[in-house]
């Protein structure tokens, strides 16, 4: 993982709360089996709207996303982090992150910086008044600088350390492989195992076939 110490880039104000991972990347884009190339899928449903923030020239090259509270809720899809990174974002700032999203970010070197909502309002105002303003995020000092505003942010110590050092989690854990083996040796024998597989008798599953005529959509008044 790439080390993260400080980043400066164009700030993008996203004035929405509860930006769930279905909004960050819709499920239809999750069929890919690669880890990169998701930039086109980021905020796919909103990207078609010319007024959407990332479709405005001043913000197009943004790399610091400043979002409303409860960012990254919903599905655990790490594709949300990959899509943000593939687009070019290095930092997401919000007053509150969903737990799984924050965890996924830390594993991928995307900094999820938690900032008080009133500070976010200050940053939003600057970024909206002067589109294209750069934001500097310093992980050493845990501060965000946007024009003349300097605000602190929170990130847990362990994630900060791993980001600063660029450490891979699996490598760190495997340093303790002996302790894992010791734990396994002491596990109760009745705890379940998937192998050898136990089944009920095999039964044939019949394939369902299309039936009926699909209801015509959008014909009902008041829809």
């Amino acid at each position: 993982m790439e080390k993260f110490t400080q980043h400066t880039g164009v700030g993008v104000p996203l004035r929405r709360s509860n930006v769930d991972t279905d909004q960050i990347i819709p499920a239809v884009y999750l069929k890919r089996v690669t880890r990169t190339g998701f930039e086109d899928a980021l905020f796919a449903a909103w990207r078609g709207d010319p007024a959407f923030i990332l479709n405005q020239d001043a913000y197009r090259s943004g790399s610091v996303l400043v979002a409303g509270p409860d960012f990254g809720t919903g599905s655990s899809r790490e594709h949300a982090v990959w899509a943000l990174k593939d687009y070019g974002f290095r930092v997401v700032i919000s007053a509150r992150f969903a737990d799984i999203f924050r965890g996924n970010s830390g594993k991928q070197g995307l900094l999820a910086a938690q900032v008080a909502q009133e500070d976010i309002e200050l940053i939003w105002k600057i970024l909206e008044t002067r589109p294209g303003t750069e934001v500097t995020v310093d992980l050493e000092s845990r501060t965000i600088t946007c024009d003349d505003v300097v605000v602190p942010f929170q990130v847990d110590d362990y994630t900060r350390w791993r980001l600063l050092e660029g450490l891979d989690d699996i490598g760190l854990t495997l340093q303790h492989a002996d302790e894992i083996s010791d734990f396994e040796a002491a596990r109760e024998s009745w705890r379940p195992a998937t192998l050898p597989a136990k089944h009920l008798p095999p039964v044939e599953i019949k394939a369902a076939r299309p039936v009926g005529v699909p209801v015509e959509i959008g014909t009902r008044p008041g829809l």
């Binding site: 929405r16 909004q23 069929k31 989690d169 894992i180 998937t194």
Partner: protein
């Protein structure tokens, strides 16, 4: 020292305590894998030359991206087919057991674990899917993980995890007729908000929870993530043991006795302290539906679409305005007057046999509304077989519904089962996010009973709307329909 259920399970799995703010290293008893969040994890192992440490604690199935029609034919969509093939190849290469399309134990991963008896009390269960919280209904500590963590568990059978806080959610009293476990959890989410559970493990307790069947408990734990909590738990009891006994992977003989003895210790001590306690009265609950675009935007069915001007909090007001616009609703419009185009009955939330039975009891001998499409998708192939053995498939088909093969289906619309733009659904699933069930699609989350009544009337309806006090056509009194 007194401990909560979650703390007891946690403590039993600590391989290594973290010092100086570092997370604990936790052992994982069961790792469930599906096609969508695993390909990049297996690729990571391959690149690093690492094996799967414990294939015997790992189980794969195909669910998110599988078709629910024509499953004996090649998958039409090339990218979907590639993703399924990738999982099959990875399972073979790394020695992981897999239940593929056409196998009786294929289905939604959160149904497959329980039905095989692999999900047991006191385990740590993970899966690259946020609804892994479902397994907490057995008193397991179960939570969703991202793909990097999937790779981590495959390689090490452990996860580094920061400690969590605990929240007790007590539901006292008895549910009124027509209200179900889905209504309990929707009411909880509306009460504490989509962020209310962040950083917490929720423990559901109280008389109303104890009275629920195992499957109804799964519905509640399933949607813990919708309140922001990674995990939800219910202490195991006789209901849990009865569900497990005799399942393929349940302990047998002396092992069963040893297991039950241990499982019986898995409850929060009377003097255990929770960081937060929330109390609900079951008697106050009624059928609940969502009107907006996150699961916290829900109200009793008897209410009306909120009027944003009346919402004091600015963020909430803006969110409500946006949601009402997206949903194509009018502030103040009674929820009961909302017409739907599609009723979806299925998902890891409400696609189990009890859900299908309760829907069948309501729709038996009736016809669906003419202009409504009704999709019934069992959670697993085994659930489908069971339903067919009970003749439920005939009831659904006579009603005018489509009876499909198992999978996640329209819950997230990765496969062809999607809403068209502007189309509106009443859905027994778990998320009403913008575009979740198809681009531009509009979702109202409901219980199976509300779904059934809505399919009959064409507008969001409760069972009682079919005629006050009427039993189901087969004579089942309303009170007996609410097991789920």
């Amino acid at each position: 020292m007194a401990g909560t259920l979650a703390e007891k399970v946690w403590d039993a799995h600590v391989v290594r305590r973290g010092a100086d703010g570092a997370p604990d290293l936790l052992y994982i008893d069961l790792h469930l894998v599906h096609e969508v969040t695993s390909p990049q994890a297996f690729e990571g192992l391959r690149l690093a030359g690492r094996p799967v440490r414990r294939p015997d604690l790992t189980l794969a199935t195909e669910d998110h991206n599988t078709p629910t029609l024509d499953i004996d034919r090649p998958i039409a969509d090339a990218t979907s087919r590639t993703q399924i093939d990738t999982l099959r190849n990875n399972a073979q290469e790394f020695g992981v057991r897999i239940h593929s399309l056409g196998d009786a134990d294929q289905g939604i991963v959160h149904q497959v674990g329980p039905q095989l008896g692999l999900t047991q009390p006191g385990l740590t269960v993970v899966c690259g899917d946020s609804h892994t919280s479902t397994h907490g209904a057995f008193g397991a500590l179960a939570f969703g993980i991202g793909t990097s963590e999937v790779e981590h568990v495959l390689a090490t059978q452990t996860l580094p995890l920061a400690p969590f806080k605990t929240m007790a959610i007590t539901v006292d009293g008895e549910l009124p007729p027509g209200a179900t476990s889905k209504d309990i959890i929707l009411a909880i989410i509306a009460k504490i908000g989509t962020g209310g559970g962040q950083g917490y493990v929720l423990e559901y307790r109280g008389e109303a929870i104890r009275a629920l069947s195992m499957e109804a408990r799964m519905t509640i734990c399933n949607m813990s993530i919708e309140a922001g909590a990674r995990a939800g738990m219910i202490a195991p009891d006789a209901t849990t043991f009865e569900y497990l006994k005799g399942r393929p992977h349940a302990p047998e003989g002396a092992d069963w006795d040893a297991a039950v003895e241990y499982w019986s210790t898995l409850r929060s001590d009377d003097d255990a302290e929770f960081d937060v306690e929330v109390v609900l009265e079951a008697a106050d609950l009624e059928p609940f539906v969502t009107w907006g675009t996150n699961p916290g935007q829900g109200l009793p069915l008897s209410a009306s679409v909120p009027v944003p001007e009346n919402i004091a909090d600015e963020n909430e007001r803006v969110a409500a305005e946006r949601a009402i616009e997206y949903m194509g609703l009018t502030p103040g419009q009674p929820l009961r007057e909302i017409h739907v185009d599609t009723v979806f009955i299925g998902s890891c939330t409400n696609g189990r046999i009890e859900d299908l039975r309760s829907v069948a009891k309501v729709v038996q001998g009736r016809k669906k509304a003419d202009d409504v499409r009704v999709l019934v998708v069992p959670a697993s192939a085994r659930v489908r077989l069971q339903a067919e053995a009970e003749g439920l498939d005939k009831i659904f088909l006579d009603f005018g519904a489509e009876w499909r093969n198992a999978g996640c289906s329209m819950c997230l619309g990765m496969n062809p089962d999607q809403l068209a733009p502007g189309e509106r659904s009443a859905s027994t699933s778990n998320r009403n996010f913008e575009g979740r069930q198809g681009k531009g699609g509009r979702t109202h989350l409901v219980s199976p009973l509300v779904a059934a009544a809505t399919a009959i009337r064409g507008t969001l309806s409760s069972y009682a709307d079919l005629g006050t006090g009427t039993p189901a056509p087969d004579g089942t009194p309303l009170a007996d329909l609410q097991t789920v």
